[in-house]
Amino acid sequence: MSLCDPLVFKSVFEELNTAVQRFLLSKGISLEDAVDHTQESFLKLWKNCSSVPREKAKSYLYKVGNNLIIDGYRRTKTSLQWKSRQKERVEKIDGQYELEMSEFKNRLQDAIDTMSRGSREVFMMSRFNDMKYSEIAAALDISVKAVEKRMHGALKHLHDKSILKKG
C-alpha cells in the first residue's frame, strides 16, 4: 500500500483533498491560495511518496500546507465563500430558506471576521473541517487545552454577537 502506487495515491487524494483545502481556508487565506497550496502539498507528497507512510499522509499534507502559508510571510484577507450543505433542500422548499440562510451567512461571516485569529482558526477547523480538538492541537502544534481555550473564545464571541437573534 505504498503511496508511490498511483492508484493508492489517487485514493489518498480523493480522501483528503477537501479536508486539506478546508484546513488551509481555516488559516484565513483565499480559496485561490488554498487550491494552489493544496496542489503543491500533494505534489510534494508524491515526490516524497517513498518516505511518507500512508497513515501519516494527512498530517504531512497539513504540515506542508501550513509551511507554505507561513513561509516568509503572506498578506491575507479573510474572504470565505460559503455554500449550503443541502442545496437540493433549498430548491425544494422555497426562497424563504435561502433568504434566511443568506442573511445568516452574512452575520456568521461578520462574527468570524471579528474573532481573534487564534479562535477563528480553531473554530473553522472544528466546525468546517470536522476536526477533533486533539487533531487541531496536533496540526497547530499546540496543546488540547489551548485549543479548548481558543474554541471557548470563539463560542463566547458567537454568543455575544447573538447572530441568530438579529433578524
Binding site: 480523493e14 496542489q39 468546517f128
Partner: protein
C-alpha cells in the same frame, strides 16, 4: 495545581467542553446562568448546514495528475540532465538567497485597509490603515525587531525576544497579544491583551499585564490603567479614544476612511468611541462632541 488556577482554567474552556458534551449537569446549570445555550446551539446547528466552498476533487486531480507525469519524465531523464538541472537549481537558489539576504529593510505601509502579516514563527501583525511597519528582513526571525509608525496589533505566540519601537516607546514582549498606537510623535499608547509586555521610554519602564494600558509621552510614562477591551476595538470596526487630542483623532480617522480630512489644530481632548466603517455616523458623533459641524461634501470632510 493551585485551586484558583484550576478554576480559571476550567472557566476558560467550559464552552468548548460543553460543545463536546463533556460537562456535568451541575456545570451546565451554572453555564446557563451566563450563556443562552439554546440560542448558541441553534446558531451552531444552522452553521452546520453550511460548508466552505472548495474546488472539486476531479478538477484538482487533472492538474495534479499532469504534474505527477512530469515527475515520471524526470525519473526517466538521463543522469547528465539531472546533474545539470541540480547545478542550475543550486545556482538559482544561491542567487535567490543572495538577493533575499541583501534586500535588508522591509517597509510595509497599510493603504486603505488593515494589512495582515504572517511570519514563519506564527507571529501575526495587523497594521492599521495609514500606519507603517519596518524590519530587517535578513535576520528578522532571530531578532524580531520592528519599527512602527502609527498603530498595529501584535499576536506573538512563540517565546523569545520580540521588540517594537516607536518614536517614544520600546515595547518588549514577554507574552502574546498587544496593541501599539503611536498617536503622534510625542505620544504612544500601549495596550496588553494577553501575556505581558515591558514598555520603556524616557520616563523609565513598566510592565503591562492583560487588560492594562499605558500612555508614553516625550518625557514620562503615564499611570498604568485598566481597559475593558479584550482585543482592540478597531479590529471590529470601531475605535475608542481616551483623552486623545482632537487633531490626532481627526488625523487617525483619515487613515480609515477614503476621504480627504482637514488638518485641524484643535488641542482639546476627545473621549469616546467612533465608528470606522460609517463616515456619516462618525462625523455626527464628532459634531456632537465638539459643537462644530463635521460633514461630507464631494468626498471631502469639511468643518463649519
Amino acid at each position: 495545581m493551585p485551586l484558583e488556577y484550576r478554576m480559571q482554567e476550567e472557566e476558560e474552556n467550559i464552552l468548548a467542553r460543553w460543545l463536546q458534551g463533556d460537562i456535568s449537569l451541575e456545570e451546565k446549570k451554572k453555564l446557563e446562568e451566563t450563556y443562552d445555550l439554546e440560542s448558541l446551539e441553534a446558531v451552531l446547528k444552522k452553521q452546520g448546514e453550511l460548508e466552505l466552498t472548495t474546488v472539486s476533487t476531479s478538477v484538482m486531480w487533472e492538474t495534479i495528475e499532469e504534474k505527477m507525469t512530469d515527475k515520471s519524465t524526470v525519473n526517466r531523464s538521463s543522469k547528465w540532465k539531472l546533474i545539470i538541472g541540480l547545478i542550475g537549481g543550486l545556482l538559482l537558489l544561491a542567487l535567490v538567497l543572495w538577493k533575499w539576504g541583501s534586500q535588508g529593510e522591509e517597509r510595509i505601509k497599510a493603504e486603505g485597509e488593515i494589512e495582515r502579516l504572517h511570519f514563519a514563527d506564527n507571529t501575526e501583525i495587523d497594521i492599521v490603515p495609514g500606519s507603517e511597519l519596518s524590519y530587517d528582513k535578513s535576520n528578522n526571525l532571530e531578532e524580531r525587531l520592528f519599527h512602527l509608525k502609527g498603530q498595529a496589533f501584535f499576536n506573538v505566540p512563540t517565546p523569545g525576544p520580540f521588540t517594537v519601537i516607536t518614536s517614544r516607546a520600546r515595547v518588549e514582549v514577554m507574552g502574546t497579544q498587544f496593541d501599539v498606537w503611536e498617536v503622534n510623535s510625542d505620544e504612544t499608547y500601549v495596550r496588553c491583551f494577553e501575556g505581558s509586555v515591558r514598555v520603556s521610554g524616557e520616563g523609565g519602564s513598566v510592565e503591562l499585564n492583560p487588560m492594562e494600558q499605558v500612555l508614553l509621552t516625550s518625557d514620562s510614562i503615564g499611570e498604568v490603567r485598566k481597559t475593558t477591551e479584550s482585543e482592540p476595538l478597531w479590529m471590529n470596526g470601531t475605535k475608542r479614544y481616551e483623552r486623545v487630542k482632537l487633531k490626532d483623532v481627526v488625523h487617525d480617522l483619515a487613515c480609515f476612511y477614503p476621504y480627504s480630512f482637514p488638518e485641524i489644530e484643535n488641542n482639546s481632548v476627545f473621549n469616546g468611541v467612533l465608528p470606522l466603517k460609517d463616515i456619516e455616523k462618525a462625523l455626527d458623533y464628532l459634531s456632537v462632541a465638539t459643537g462644530k459641524t463635521y460633514r461630507l461634501e464631494n468626498q471631502k470632510v469639511v468643518v463649519e
